[in-house]
Symmetry: C2
Subunit: 351 residues, 2 copies
C-alpha cells in the first residue's frame, strides 16, 4: 500500500475544513440552485433530481442521499481566485459554470454507460428516460455558458472561450473512450490523450477560469491551468489503479471492476503495449463473459507486465508536476494551502 501526498503540509490537514471548504461548496450550491431556477420545467425537474434537490423544499440541502457531489472543480476555481486576489467569490460564476458543465456530462455519461446509480440515487435516465435526460444535459451546458456571459466583462468572455475549448476536448476524450471499446488494440499515447480530454481538460479549465476571473497575469493563468491538468491526470492514474487492484471496501466497487468491464484503462494499454503475454491481448479481444478467476489472472498479468508500478510512477510524476506548476504561479506560499489541500483530496487515495 502506498499513497501520494502532494506535500507533507497538506498531509497534515484534517479532511473536513481545508479539503472541501464548506463555505465555498455552500456558496456554489446556493448559486447553482439559483441558476437552475432559470431553466424551463422539463429540464429543471431532471436537474433537481440529479443534484439531489427537492423543488418543493429549498431548505432541504444537500437534499437526497449523496447530495449534489463534491464540487471539486468549482471549489478549485474559487480557491485559485482566493489565492490570486484574496476574494474567492470573484470566480463564483466560473465555479457554477464548470459544475454545470461537469454535471451535464455526468447526465449523458450515465445514459451512455447504462449506469443505474449515481450519488446513491437512481440515475436521471432511469427515472425520466434517455431523451429527457439528454435534453436536460443540453440545458445545463447552455446554462453554463450563459452564467459565464451574464456579466459582459472581458474576463467572462475569456473564461467562456476556455470553457468551450475544454468542453470540445472533453467530448473528444469521451468519444475516444467509447471508440476504444470496439478496438482490440489501443496505444498508450492514445489512452493518455483520451484521459487528458475526458478528465484533465475540465479540471485544467477550472483552475484557469479561477485565475482569469481573478485578473491573473497570463503566466499565472498558464501555471494554474497546468496545475489543474496534472491533478486531473494524477487522479486518472490513481483511479485506473484502483479500478484493477483497489480494495472493494474502500472503492465501493467490486474487485477488478475495470477488468470485468474489459476497460482499456491506462495500465491495461501499457501492459498490452509491452506485448509479452499473449493471453492479455487475447482476453481484451474477447467478448465472452468474464469469470472471477479471469479477473484475478488478468490483474496478475497486468501487474507482471510492470503496469501497476508504471501507473503509480506516472501518478507521482503528475503530482510533482502539479506542485511545480503551483510553485511558479506567483502565489504567496501562505495562500497556497487550500489548493494543496484540495490537490491532496483529489489525488491521494490509498492504493
Amino acid at each position: 500500500m502506498s499513497s501520494i501526498a502532494l506535500d507533507t503540509t497538506a498531509a497534515d490537514q484534517g479532511d473536513a475544513g481545508a479539503l472541501r471548504p464548506p463555505a465555498a461548496r455552500e456558496e456554489i450550491a446556493r448559486m447553482l440552485r439559483r441558476a437552475l431556477r432559470g431553466l424551463h420545467a422539463p429540464a429543471r425537474r431532471v436537474a433537481l433530481h440529479h443534484f439531489g434537490w427537492c423543488e418543493q423544499d429549498p431548505a432541504a440541502s444537500p437534499g437526497g442521499p449523496g447530495g449534489p457531489g463534491k464540487m471539486v472543480r468549482g471549489t478549485l476555481a474559487m480557491q485559485v481566485a482566493g489565492a490570486m486576489c484574496g476574494d474567492p467569490s470573484v470566480a463564483l460564476a466560473g465555479a457554477v459554470a464548470v459544475e454545470l458543465t461537469h454535471n451535464s456530462t455526468l447526465l449523458k455519461d450515465d445514459v451512455m454507460d447504462r449506469d443505474v446509480t449515481r450519488r446513491q440515487r437512481p440515475t436521471a435516465w432511469t427515472v425520466f428516460g434517455e431523451s429527457q435526460t439528454v435534453l436536460a444535459s443540453d440545458a445545463l451546458l447552455t446554462l453554463a455558458f450563459s452564467v459565464l456571459l451574464e456579466h459582459p466583462a472581458e474576463s467572462g468572455l475569456a473564461a467562456f472561450r476556455f470553457l468551450a475549448k475544454a468542453y470540445q476536448d472533453l467530448l473528444t476524450g469521451q468519444a475516444m473512450d467509447l471508440l476504444f471499446e470496439s478496438c482490440d488494440r489501443v496505444g498508450v499515447d492514445d489512452c493518455i490523450r483520451m484521459a487528458d480530454g475526458k478528465t484533465a481538460a475540465l479540471l485544467a479549465c477550472s483552475t484557469r477560469i479561477g485565475a482569469v476571473l481573478a485578473g491573473a497575469q497570463p503566466y499565472q493563468a498558464d501555471a494554474l491551468e497546468d496545475f489543474g491538468r496534472h491533478l486531473g491526470l494524477a487522479f486518472q492514474y490513481v483511479d485506473d489503479i484502483l479500478g484493477i487492484w483497489g480494495d472493494p471496501a474502500t472503492t465501493g466497487k467490486p474487485a477488478g471492476s475495470d477488468i470485468a468491464a474489459r476497460k482499456k484503462s491506462l495500465p491495461v494499454t501499457y501492459a498490452l503495449a509491452k506485448g509479452e503475454d499473449g493471453s492479455l491481448a487475447g482476453f481484451y479481444a474477447e467478448r465472452t463473459a468474464v469469470s472471477r478467476k479471469d479477473v484475478a489472472r488478468i490483474a496478475i498479468a497486468i501487474e507482471e507486465a510492470g503496469a501497476r508500478a508504471w501507473a503509480a510512477d506516472q501518478a507521482a510524476r503528475h503530482c510533482s508536476a502539479a506542485e511545480e506548476s503551483l510553485a511558479r504561479a506567483g502565489i504567496p506560499v501562505e495562500r497556497q494551502q487550500p489548493l494543496r489541500a484540495t490537490a491532496r483530496f483529489v489525488t491521494a487515495r490509498e492504493y
Copy 2:
C-alpha cells in the same frame, strides 16, 4: 386545395433565385465547412456525414445526395442583415451559428425519433452509433456559441444571449413533444407552446440575430423577431395539415403519416379539445397498430371537428402577422423583397 401567399408580389417570384439565394447559401456553406475544421476528428467525421460533405474532397459541394439542407435559418439571418444595412455578410457568423444549432438538434432528433433517413442519406446514428452522434451534436452546439463569440463585439455577445435563450426554448419544446407521446390528453395551448419552442424559437432567433448583427434599433429587432416567430408558427400549422391531409406525391411521406404515428399535432389537439366525437379520444389513447382504414376514418373525424379549417385559418393569421411585423421593422419596401420571398418559401405549400 388552397395556398397561402404572404403577398401577391412574393407569389410572382420564381422559386430558384430569390427564394433561396445561392450566394447566401454558398457563403454560409463555405463558412460552415471552415468552422467544422475546428472540430476534433470524432465529431468532425459525424458532422461531415450529416452535412453530406466529404472530408477528402472539399470541392465536392454540396456533396452527398440531399446536400447540407436548405439553410433557411441562416439565409433569413443574412437577408435581414442585408435589408437592414445593405450588407448581408455582417450576419455571417450569426447565420453559421443558427445553422450549427439547427443541425445539432437534427442529429439528436433523429436519435430520439429513431429516424433512419435524412436528406436522402442514412442518419448519423445509424452509421456512427447513438453515443457518437449525441457527442457530435454537443460539439456543433458548442461551436455555434463559439462562432458567435469569436469576435468580441458587443453585438456578438447580444446575439449569443438570444441564441442561448432560443435554444433553451427549443429544448423545452422538444421535451414537451416527447412528453405528449405518453399523455392521452394534450391542451391546444400546450401544443401551441410546444410548437413555439420546437419550431418558432430558432426562426425568431435567426431573424433577430440578423438584425442585431446589422446594428438594428431595438424596435426593429423586436419586429424582425416577431416576423421570424410568426413564420415559424405558420410553417408548423401548414406542416401539421400536410401530416394529416397532405398528398403523398407532394410531401414524400405516406398519407396521414401523423395519424399513423398518433402524433398529437396542432389540429389533433384542437379536435380532441372540441370533444364531440368520443372515438377520436379513444384512438389517441390506444397503443395498438394503426390500420389504413383507421387513418382514413380519423382524418375525417378531425376534419369534421373543424380542425382543418381552424389550422388553415391559424396559418393564414400568422402569415398576416408576419407581414405586419415586417412592415413595422422600418425597412424600405424595395429591400423587403428577399425576406418576403423566403417567407413564401417557408409557408406557402399547397395543401
